[in-house]
Amino acid sequence: MITLYVSLSAFLFSIGTLIVLTKKNIIVILMGIELILNAANLNLIVFGQFDKEYLRGHVFALFIMVVATAEVSVALAIIWLVYKYFNTTNIDELKTLKE
């Protein structure tokens, strides 16, 4: 059973990485990052089953969720700022800083 869960999380991690590397829209990239974080969460909870006394995996997963929420709120605020100046959320069109 554990093989199934770990494979699922590896699959999620791969999808997330692929999205981050190929997509151009900032919000979609953020969604890919969330998938990677959830892959880590799934792993932690599955492995936490073997750590019944302290439940460190579960605790870690809770922390990740909270921090990820904070991260997304900061990201959305900055994306709003980017949209205000550039009128786009395409990462390729942000190139005022390149030479």
């Binding site: 792993n43 990201a75 550039f86």
Partner: protein, 492 residues
């Protein structure tokens, strides 16, 4: 629901918890400072920028004092806090004092920078965020547990994204979103690695006992892969090769005090955690690990130096120089803490002073000409001899040539590398040594570009242009850097 074992030990654990809190004096000072700054922010006017800076400087001074007291009282073999989550020893405390001094310099730099004269700049928030980063870094350098490392790294990263975006201009927004996307991606990779490490060893603690207790799991290549993924965030923090793309953009967009801070404090703390991680690698993985880090270091320094070569913007050039320096921060991780632990502190002091000095003079140049482009430097050296000479001292420090202490730092690292090579006979270490020395020579070309423009090139007009610079503080930095070259035994 709760296990019996935990409930029985509750009073012991509570005692342990309260005992641990008594060692965190430096952190309390920062928390009090943060609290006062939040109180000030409740009434938003631009009048309290002096208040903000004074509170920031006072907080850092108090924090340094507290750390110094703790350093006097700490037992030589260190102190475990919070059930071995954090460890406090004299090395950590010295590193924290260096980080606190960097914070102090940042606030002084802010008071002298062009940002200080801006109308709508949120000063007390800026200082609040720098203090928050300091808090994260204090905890990061003590961490011995994956959860503690993750949380403190996230405190540092999240606040850095906000700080880069803070003046809310167009280029800040762009740099900040790039920084954030890279940072969040590397955090995701790190977390995936951490989850695999947790699965393989069954514990979130990072200490040699856990590694040796799970010998079979550690022997599998999966463990090394997970361990390498876990270091992703640290590579991002020291702006080493796979995750260095954010550095030039952030350095160009951020204001000088922030960039000087970001290129020193988080890099030093991240490099220290990387050194700590490398000390955990078991002996049968050590050759592979050293080769892996050596390849990263070689690519990083070559890319950094070649990238810096074609820059015309002073800040972008210093950004690539900071990427090149990331490879020197990897060297103590490669050779191990027993060979290069003490040198790391020396290098941290020298590198911070050199970077702060270079950014400070770049900021003075910006205050005169309104740009970081090098084209106005041409030939004005004869009106600004002091400016040029002190700039030369900082650049030679960053390059590592005598008579500045940067030379000693590089010499220590290279000799430690040579010693490690003679012990282990790993060919990659020799390659790293040779390429490192070659790169130091190559780096001269761009480090000496500024003095060359200042003194050798002819001025475009005959006008007398004098750059106002804060000579007292900059000569103090330069004096310390040269003093550390000659009076080495004062330090070690």
């Amino acid at each position: 629901m709760f296990s019996k074992h935990l409930v029985e030990n509750l009073s012991y654990q509570l005692n342990n918890l309260f005992n641990s809190f008594s060692y965190l004096g430096g952190e309390y000072c920062l928390l009090i400072g943060i609290f006062f700054l939040i109180l000030i922010e409740l009434k938003p006017t631009s009048a309290h920028k002096n208040w903000g800076i004074s509170i920031g400087i006072l907080t850092m001074l108090l924090s340094i004092f507290q750390l110094w007291i703790t350093l006097k009282n700490i037992s030589p073999k260190g102190q475990n806090l919070f059930e071995e989550m954090l460890v406090l020893n004299s090395f950590n405390l010295q590193l924290k004092i260096i980080l606190a001094i960097i914070g102090l310099l940042t606030f002084i730099f802010l008071a002298f920078s062009s940002t200080y004269k801006e109308k709508n700049f949120p000063f007390s928030e800026w200082i609040l965020f720098i203090l928050t980063i300091e808090l994260g870094l204090y905890i990061l350098v003590m961490s011995q547990n994956l959860l503690a490392i993750y949380l403190s790294l996230e405190v540092v990263s999240l606040v850095s994204y906000i700080l880069v975006a803070l003046p809310f201009k167009k280029q800040n927004a762009e740099a900040s979103i790039k920084y954030l996307l890279f940072g969040a991606f590397t955090t995701g990779i790190t977390l995936y690695g951490m989850s695999l490490l947790y699965g393989l060893t069954g514990s979130l603690d990072m200490n040699p006992a856990i590694i040796s207790a799970n010998f079979n799991a550690v022997k599998s290549p999966l463990w090394l892969m997970a361990f390498f993924l876990t270091c992703g965030s640290l590579f991002f923090k020291i702006s080493s090769l796979p995750f260095h793309f954010w550095t030039p953009d952030v350095y160009e967009a951020g204001n000088s005090p922030l960039v000087a801070f970001l290129s020193t404090a988080p890099k030093i703390a991240g490099a220290w955690i990387l050194i700590f991680f490398s000390s955990l690698v078991p002996t049968f993985w050590l050759p592979t690990w050293q080769v892996l880090l050596s390849v990263i270091a070689i690519l990083t320094m070559t890319l950094g130096n070649f990238g810096a070569f074609k820059q015309t913007n002073i800040k972008r050039m210093l950004a690539y120089s900071s990427i090149a320096h990331a490879s020197f921060m990897l060297i103590p991780a490669i050779v191990g803490v027993h060979l290069a632990g003490n040198f790391f502190l020396y290098y941290a002091v020298v590198y911070s002073l050199g970077t702060f000095g270079a950014f400070w003079l770049a900021e003075n140049y910006f205050q005169k000409f309104g740009t970081f482009d090098m084209k106005y430097l041409k030939g004005i050296g004869r009106w600004n001899v002091g400016f040029g000479v002190i700039f030369l001292v900082f650049l030679l420090t960053l390059n590592g040539l005598p008579p500045t202490s940067g030379f000693n730092a590089k010499l220590f690292f290279f000799s430690a590398l040579w010693q490690s090579y003679t012990q282990t006979k790993i060919f990659m270490l020799l390659v790293l040594l040779v390429i490192g020395v070659l790169n130091t020579g190559f780096a001269l070309f761009y480090y000496l570009k500024i003095p060359y423009l200042l003194f050798i090139k002819n001025q475009m007009t005959e006008e007398k242009i004098v750059i106002k610079y804060h000579y007292f503080i900059n000569f103090l930095f330069g004096f310390i850097l040269i003093l550390l070259f000659f009076g080495l035994n004062l330090f070690l």
